[in-house]
């Protein structure tokens, strides 16, 4: 039963606004961080949230620079610890306001600095500011690839993947809270063009819908996905106008 999904919205309206409409920009994390000059708790919280989300690209970068897994974890923690302590971000404008570029520049700077580096390892030890989830599990895949990618490439790639993961996680949460996880899974398979994706007819029969309703539901699923994707990206840029550019950059990264 998918009551919400079966409700048909005029497609033109969706097409016009769903993902090109203004994203609620004032509340996005990175812009909050950037706007708050110093020590705003909201900015601090936003930055922490961003760090929690985007630790993997940093970790991947540090690893590729030759750090052992454990050291890389400590360095990553240490880096974020330092970043979060340093309450103002006046210098960010230089990087055209992208969180992605800012973190990459910062981590490079951080790693280049021998003594800060040692200090960070020390500080990072045992600290768990950022939960480095399932690091080991994914490690293998990352390392395998890493012999052919530079640290920057790994970072960028990881970043793009993290954005996508974030979006999918949010979609899943939304459908979960509406009690539609199973429906989400099927829609996701269709979106991803997975080999075992069900046909629209199969979905229709499973959820007791008309095929046309499935079609509409999938269309809205895609639209929602696009909206969330742009929203997620908006969290990492300073200006709404940057979303498109950032998206294109990420496309170029994964297509490389």
């Amino acid at each position: 039963m998918v009551p919400a999904e079966d409700e048909v919205t005029p497609l033109t309206a969706i097409g016009g606004n769903a993902h090109h409409g203004p994203v609620a920009f004032t509340t996005t994390h990175w812009s909050v961080v950037l706007e708050a000059q110093r020590e705003s708790p909201a900015a601090q919280e936003a930055l922490e949230k961003l760090c929690r989300t985007y630790w993997r690209p940093i970790y991947g970068f540090v690893r590729r620079q030759g750090a052992e897994a454990e050291d890389a974890e400590d360095l990553t923690q240490g880096f974020f610890a330092l970043l979060l302590e340093r309450k103002d971000l006046n210098t960010v404008r230089k990087e055209k306001g992208r969180l992605r570029s800012y973190l990459l520049t910062s981590v490079k700077h951080f790693l280049a600095d021998e003594s800060r580096h040692a200090m960070a390892v020390k500080r990072g030890k045992g600290q768990r500011l950022i939960p480095l989830d399932d690091i080991r599990e994914r490690e293998r895949v990352d390392v395998e690839r890493s012999d052919r990618l530079t640290a920057d490439q790994i970072y960028e790639r990881r970043w793009a993947f993290t954005v996508l993961e974030q979006v999918m996680a949010r979609m899943r949460d939304e459908y979960r809270s509406a009690g539609n996880v199973r429906f989400f899974d099927q829609m996701k398979k269709m979106l991803m063009d997975e080999p075992d994706r069900p046909s629209q007819a199969q979905i229709a029969s499973e959820f007791d819908m008309t095929e046309n309703a499935v079609k509409q539901a999938f269309y809205r699923f895609r639209q929602r996905y696009q909206t969330l994707l742009r929203e997620e990206i908006s969290h990492t840029v300073a200006m709404p106008g940057d979303i498109e550019d950032e998206l294109r950059h990420l496309i170029a990264v994964v297509r490389a």
Binding site: T12, H20, T91, T105, K188, A252
Partner: protein
């Protein structure tokens, strides 16, 4: 590479194993772009370019546009109401997007006035649309529109609207040739008929002075009747045109079907025979089911196009008639003269075959094959050049503008070599090899060699060689990789003319470690050869030098070199100590290793100069001993002389002698920015400011991206109170190394001197108690003093003294002395007393150099001990008088003025300050810039003088 799970059904790209949720990341991200908001104007889409490049990388089409119609529509699964979102463009209602390519987007559209369906190609705008881009588009449209032939998709209208360019053409229902043959392969006969017809079409275009240049299955459409039409004159050019654009030439076709002359980027060689090749390549595809050349990547494909013979079609499919195979291979000859003389000749020969008549083409005999073999070998050089040309073409408009702008002067940059060893610990070896080759090249007088500190920034970055060459001001670039495993070394190098992207020389060396010097020598000589630089006998000897016979010693030496490179832009005593450790080991293993002795001496000298040791005499003696050993072994080598120069500069502070020595070295190493830099610093110490600036500028001209050099030049300007110039140099350094805290602090320092505290603060936000460079830290403290935020300054100083690991005691002593003064300013006398005692204990243990004495003086002054303070100030002036050291000498006078002011000797203080305001120097109190009226106005240490009208007058002076 990680095994891919599966290809993406949408775009065909392999989905990597680590892709989120197993979906195709590219497609998932692209879906965020969605349909255009307002197609009438904002058809700006970078993804077109991105997609096109991605496709090109797969050996596929870089420019599939119009023809994608049916297939694209099928694959895209467009939302049902897509048309409603697309909008309109003038007379055209956009119905759906049917294709994208490097230049534009193609829509199925309805032309309102004539009520017909057309294909509308609209050029992508946005940041990629340069004038050249638009020009190219218009030319394409004009060229195609002038053709009227049933085999060519007709162009209806060319237009421009709201900043977009577009043209409409016949909408061909059906599909691209490659789509169609995928569904149902065609017979040999049909293939021959089809190519014959296309050859007639192409001949018609040639007669009208137009080359297609991009014939491939994706540009051939089959209409409802199965007739072939040529479309997308995306690369077509009027034969007689020779604009700037065509001269610079982008090679942008699909490499699989591209003729060798195109792949090599040889624009002049592109001719009707190029299209004959394209037709042959399509024929090959029709006969065998695959293009003549298809590597896994663009790189590999081009390599094949240039280097390999196509497999004989009969080897792929025995059914292929021998004559047809011969016709096909004649089209694919590498030498365009050996192909059919025209498209018409090809058409006719195919028709002969179709009519079972003897064909004109002859199979290649043994002799020709041998010729081909000979011709194949020199192409590896060409190959790399063309790859670079191709890579550059992918970002064509940016690249082109740079290429045209100005020719770079002759010179060479050795870019960071890639470490291909499995063990990342071998990075030092790669870096060392790079440095050694660079050093050898630098010894050649007629060659300008960019220093490693300028090239280091290109490590691990995607490289745009022409851009790099432009940034560095050189014409040539040497790239390489090093792989070391046990006793075996593989070194690959390639020398590239970055301007033309032509490959001048490339070689691969597989050697035993013991032959490593020979390899270095050989590379340097080959490079000189390739650049047509004549070597003097002496230079030849220098190049052939074998610095040690002990490989272990050499290994330690290379480790030292690699580590040394890391303090190019930021001095770190700990790091330099490690460096000396490696050199010490090297000379221990081979006491005859002059080069290592020389390097050791320099490292010891710099530690002495920076007062990094608690017992500097030991360091001084070590520097001397190492120098003497180097001199015993190689008295007059440039390295030994450099060590001597630095010993005179850093240890003896005998600037005139150092200058003479460096002047000797510069004759031996005329393109060494390092020596010029040393000369700039030595002459600065002598107070020869103009000379110093000239040397700095010469060094920067040789080495434009060297942060250390740039920062040092900024210091000089700051000392001279030429603040705008100094700020400009800082920005230049920050361009290369963004967020460098030391450079940012220097900027802050300059803003302080100008009285702009707000701006200064913005560059100091990252300075914490743990900032490694104490000079940088002190600038932050000065800022707080100028802002009169004593509490904050005290907290920061206390935190540093508690937590920071001081690499040397004198920095600690300085911070303690600074804290004493700050507590005094904050009226915390009891705190000041405690700190003063600590500071005193620290400082009195250290040798009596000016730096220590000045700090002691500050402590006494803060504690109100007038006599002691005055004595120390005068002692500082005696130790380092202005006449002996123009950079630091005057700043002891500044301390004297401070003491005089503190104890009410206004007249003396003001007189000293008046003089200082006219003098260039670097200050103890304020970091690397002198006192200014603004600092007098702001700094609380001058408060005792405020009521004095003479002081007020000084503060009002107009200078910065």
């Amino acid at each position: 590479m990680t095994s891919a799970l599966r290809p993406c059904p949408k775009c065909g790209a392999a989905i990597p194993a680590d892709a989120p949720e197993g979906g195709c990341p590219g497609c998932l991200l692209e879906s965020g772009l969605g349909p255009r908001r307002d197609a009438s104007v904002t058809i700006c889409d970078l993804s077109a370019a991105a997609t096109a490049w991605a496709k090109a990388d797969d050996g596929g089409s870089a420019e599939n546009v119009q023809a994608n119609a049916a297939a694209a529509a099928r694959l895209r699964k467009k939302p049902a109401h897509a048309a409603e979102m697309l909008g309109e463009l003038g007379d055209y209602e956009l119905l759906e997007e049917v294709g994208r390519g490097g230049q534009g987007v193609v829509y199925r559209a309805r032309q309102e006035s004539l009520n017909r369906t057309v294909a509308l190609k609209v050029i992508s705008l946005g940041q990629w649309a340069s004038e050249a881009h638009l020009k190219r588009f218009r030319r394409e449209a004009e060229a195609a529109a002038s053709l009227d032939h049933p085999g060519i998709v007709p162009i209806y209208e060319v237009g421009k609207r709201d900043g977009s360019c577009y043209f409409s053409m016949r909408f061909v229902e059906g599909g691209q040739l490659d789509e169609v043959i995928k569904r149902s392969p065609i017979s040999l006969r049909h293939a021959a008929q089809l190519i014959a017809r296309l050859a007639h079409t192409v001949h018609y275009a040639h007669e009208h002075g137009i080359l297609h240049r991009d014939i491939k299955p994706g540009n051939i459409l089959l209409d409802g009747e199965g007739e072939a039409l040529l479309t997308d004159f995306g690369l077509a050019r009027l034969l007689e045109t020779d604009s700037t654009m065509t001269r610079t030439m982008e090679i942008m076709g699909t490499p699989s079907y591209m003729a060798p002359e195109q792949a090599a980027g040889n624009n002049a060689a592109v001719s009707p025979a190029t299209d004959v090749y394209g037709l042959g390549a399509v024929l090959y595809q029709l006969l065998t089911g695959h293009p003549p050349f298809a590597g896994g990547t663009t790189y590999e494909t081009i390599k094949l196009v240039l280097d390999s013979k196509p497999r004989r079609p009969r080897l792929c499919n025995r059914k292929i008639d021998r004559d047809l195979s011969t016709i096909c291979l004649k089209c694919l000859e590498k030498d365009s003269k050996r192909r059919y003389s025209s498209a018409l000749a090809l058409a006719q020969d195919l028709e002969h075959w179709l009519k079972h008549k003897p064909i004109l083409a002859r199979r290649t005999g043994i002799f020709t094959r041998a010729c081909k073999w000979v011709r194949r070998n020199p192409t590896s050089a060409l190959l790399v050049a063309s790859l670079i040309a191709l890579a550059a073409a992918m970002g064509w408009n940016v690249w082109k503008s740079e290429l045209i702008s100005r020719p770079a002067p002759k010179g060479i940059a050795v870019l960071p070599f890639e470490n291909l060893s499995h063990d990342p610990d071998n990075a030092y070896f790669t870096e060392g090899m790079e440095e050694e080759i660079l050093t050898r090249l630098a010894s050649i007088a007629n060659l300008k060699v960019i220093s490693r500190s300028s090239t280091q920034q290109y490590q691990n970055k995607p490289r745009n060689l022409s851009q790099i060459a432009k940034q560095l001001g050189v014409a040539n670039v040497l790239e390489g990789s090093v792989q070391k495993a046990a006793n075996q070394v593989r070194v690959n190098v390639q020398l590239i003319d970055a301007q033309t992207n032509s490959h001048l020389w490339a070689e691969s060396y597989d050697r035993k470690l013991t032959d490593i010097f020979a390899v270095q020598t050989q590379i340097a000589r080959e490079v000189a050869d390739a650049l047509q630089v004549n070597l003097t006998t002496r230079e030849k000897e220098t190049l052939a030098v074998k610095p040690t016979n002990n490989l272990e010693a050499y290994d330690a030496y290379l480790r030292g070199l690699a580590l040394e490179a890391r303090f190019y832009s930021a001095y770190s005593a700990d790091l330099v100590r490690k460096v000396t450790g490696f050199y010490e080991r090297a000379v221990q293993l081979d006491p005859m290793f002059a080069l290592a002795w020389a390097r050791l001496s320099r490292a010891d000298a710099v530690l002495y100069f920076n007062q990094s040791d608690d017992n500097p005499a030991v360091r001084r003696d070590a520097a001397k001993r190492a120098l003497e050993n180097a001199q015993k072994l190689e008295q007059d080598s440039p390295e030994t002389l450099l060590a001597l120069g630095y010993y005179q500069y850093w240890v003896l502070r005998d600037y005139p002698s150092a200058k003479t020595t460096f002047a000797r070295v510069i004759k031996m190493l005329p393109s060494s920015s390092e020596v010029l830099h040393a000369l700039a610093r030595v002459t600065r110490r002598e107070g020869r400011w103009d000379q110093s600036i000239v040397y700095s500028e010469q060094a920067l001209a040789l080495d434009p991206r060297n942060v250390e050099l740039t920062t040092n030049a900024a210091w000089t300007r700051a000392m001279l109170r030429q603040f705008p110039a100094a700020l400009g140099l800082c920005d230049r350094a920050l361009d290369v190394k963004p967020y460098d805290p030391d450079v940012m602090a220097l900027k802050a320092r300059i803003y302080q001197a100008q009285g702009n505290l707000q701006e200064a603060a913005s560059f100091l936000s990252e300075i914490t108690e743990l900032t490694p460079n104490d000079d940088t830290f002190v600038i932050k403290i000065t800022q707080l003093r100028l802002e009169r935020k004593y509490g904050e300054a005290i907290r920061l100083l206390q935190a540093r003294l508690a937590q920071f690991h001081f690499p040397s005691q004198d920095d600690k002593g300085r911070d303690q002395a600074t804290l004493t003064l700050m507590q005094r300013l904050a009226d915390d006398m009891s705190g000041a007393r405690v700190t003063a005692a600590h500071a005193h204990d620290t400082l009195v243990q250290l040798p009596n150099d000016a730096f220590i004495v000045v700090n002691l003086c500050q402590v006494y002054a803060a504690m109100g001990e007038k006599d002691a303070a005055l004595t120390e100030a005068e002692r500082a002036i005696m130790i380092l008088p202005r006449a002996k050291d123009a950079v630091k000498g005057s700043s002891s006078e500044e301390i004297l003025a401070f003491v005089q002011a503190m104890f009410g000797e206004n007249r003396h203080a003001i007189s000293t300050l008046t003089q200082l305001l006219q003098t260039p120097y670097s200050s103890w109190l304020y970091g690397p810039a002198p006192i200014t009226p603004a600092l007098l106005r702001l700094d609380p240490i001058w408060d005792p003088l405020r009521a004095d009208p003479a002081f007020q007058k000084l503060c009002e002076e107009k200078q910065p």
